[in-house]
């Protein structure tokens, strides 16, 4: 299976197959959360904004910051 088109990482899960058999599969990247379909060609996916491991971590750090702000005041 190809790596994630967005972050180039392995760790891809098949999350679904077409209800009408063998038309496509849906994939989820466990590193960056990107979801794509096997019927999407390389050309279609080429517009995807690339995201390195640092980018993924910065998103998670940003979320932790927001959640901390939303905690009830002591």
């Amino acid at each position: 299976m190809r790596p994630c088109p967005r972050c180039d990482q392995q760790g891809i899960e098949v999350i679904g197959k077409s209800p009408v058999e063998e038309c496509w599969e849906l994939y989820l990247c466990h590193t960056c959360g990107y979801v794509w379909r096997s019927s999407e060609t390389e050309e279609l996916l080429s517009g995807t904004v690339k995201l390195g491991p640092g980018g993924v971590q910065s998103i998670l750090d940003s979320h932790r910051f927001v959640m901390k702000r939303l905690e009830p005041q002591q």
Binding site: C23, W24, L26, L44, H63
Partner: protein, 465 residues
């Protein structure tokens, strides 16, 4: 008479030559997003994709994708002018509340898929724009209940497909569902949700309409329809759902589970950021026999997102401002330009237009209005040619501009350097007018001559106790 469901609306669109059935097989990507973009550019018909490769369920798109179809969704003639649609929407707003009625035999329960049988990947959920982080559900009513007050809410929120029983959802605290989620999270509890898809078109207008705090969208939907909304209890969560929905997804948002969501091509015409967002864990999907999925194309204006939200957003700000500034006559939150608004007012005295500007900027939605114009009541604020005429003939840039920096702004505004902060400009396009007259001064109010004597007497009596 209100539409009973999505199918009655589609039938009406067929009578009006406002819908095209695409019967050839199309690809989920890129065909669906591309054809939606094309019909928005044409201000063309709604589209129903009968055969999407790999799917068994058809997908209806752009059902609110023109002002003609927004008018039809309120059972008005399709050539109704924008200001008349706005006025009718406001009249129906005043009918609030119209309580929903519970029914036993709900079409949305004709097929029940519970547990592992509930599979989101069976629904035609597509990637709308090229850089979207995945396929998105973007036209629905997501229902939740305030954990403190029990008041119900439904609204339209984007949801990224992440698995057969997983969706991402944005839970920023500016949205009601975000408020509910954060309250539940502080209690350490999951928030139950139900996502209703394929609704009668007036219910979708209610779903996108920002309402005053603690208003119940089910009762507002009844007001917009002119008839109570039929509801039924969901299967696995303690929430009511529209009985005639095509599809209902039930689940819960867990308090501390997040994953990466987005980007998503947004109404500004730019992509949202990639964010860590909460997840809905799906417990059940129910649907009608032969259900119809519904989706909305969104991107550079004009798209269905602009058409469906324009009148509800405008009415929402107008109704918030009216009690504070009764002189306001109409408000156009022209979503084509995202953050531009035009208010018309029956101005009596100079200075009232600035009071109106401040009132608009104080409302929950109007606080995002970056450029606000005020016109006299003889100008239709929905007619930009007339607004420009007022700008040409009633406006002087050196005296009629109000500028405020560092105010709360729309986080999605790509031009703001600090996200969430921005400037506001108010343009007074009203006819110059003198301020409220002050009576001619007739002198200072002096004390009576006897006052000093009384002061001494009061002091003596007070000291004696």
């Amino acid at each position: 008479m209100a539409y009973k469901d999505l199918r009655e609306f589609i039938a009406r669109l067929e009578e009006e030559d406002e819908v095209l059935h695409i019967t050839e097989e199309v690809l989920p990507e890129p065909d669906v997003g591309a054809m939606a973009r094309a019909t928005c550019d044409l201000e063309g018909p709604a589209l129903i994709c009968e055969r999407i490769r790999g799917y068994q369920i058809p997908l209806a798109i752009c059902l609110h994708g023109s002002y003609r179809r927004v008018a039809l969704s309120l059972e008005l003639p399709k050539q109704t002018q924008l200001k008349q649609i706005f006025e009718e929407f406001c009249r129906r707003w005043d009918r609030y509340p119209v309580d929903p009625v519970t029914v036993n035999n709900a079409p949305c329960k004709q097929v029940k898929l519970l547990g592992r049988d509930a599979d989101l990947t069976r629904l035609p959920i597509v990637r709308w724009n090229m850089v979207d982080g995945g396929p998105f559900i973007d036209k629905s009513a997501a229902i939740s209940r305030d954990p403190d007050t029990g008041i119900l809410n439904f609204g339209e929120y984007r949801m990224q497909l992440k698995g057969p029983r997983t969706l991402n959802i944005t839970t920023t605290a500016v949205h009601d569902i975000g408020v509910h989620f954060h309250k539940a999270r502080r209690m350490g509890k999951p928030l139950e949700v139900a996502v209703a898809i394929g609704l009668d078109p007036a219910v979708m207008l209610a779903s996108v309409c920002p309402l005053p705090p603690n208003w119940d969208e089910f009762k507002f939907a009844g007001a917009l329809r002119g008839e109570p909304l039929e509801i039924v209890q969901a299967e696995t969560v303690d929430l009511p759902v529209p009985a005639n929905a095509e599809i209902v997804i039930e689940g819960e948002i867990l308090p501390d589970v997040v994953s990466n969501e987005g980007p998503f091509g947004e109404y500004t015409g730019y992509y949202s950021m990639l964010m860590a967002n909460a997840e809905i864990h799906v417990k059940a999907i129910t649907h009608r026999f032969n259900p119809i999925m519904e989706g909305l194309y969104i991107g550079v204006p004009m798209t269905e997102s602009d058409w469906i939200s324009h009148i509800p957003n405008s009415a929402s700000v107008y109704k918030e401002v009216k009690p504070l500034v009764p002189e306001i006559e109409a408000f156009n939150l022209a979503s084509t330009w995202c953050q531009v608004g035009v208010a018309s007012m029956r101005k009596l005295f100079g200075g009232q237009e600035r009071k109106l500007m401040n009132a608009v900027w104080a409302t929950p939605l109007g606080c995002n209005t970056k450029v606000l114009m005020v016109v006299d009541t003889d100008i239709d604020p929905f007619n930009m040619d007339k607004v420009l005429w007022a700008m040409s003939t009633r406006f002087q840039p050196d005296t009629d501009i109000v500028l405020i920096g560092n105010t709360m702004g729309q986080r999605l505004d790509p031009s703001s350097l600090v996200k969430g902060l921005g400037a506001k400009v108010g343009l007074d396009l009203t006819w110059p007018m003198a301020p409220s007259p002050v009576p001619e001064a007739i002198g200072v109010v002096k004390p009576r001559p006897e006052t000093e004597e009384w002061r001494q007497r009061i002091l003596r009596m007070w000291e004696r106790g």
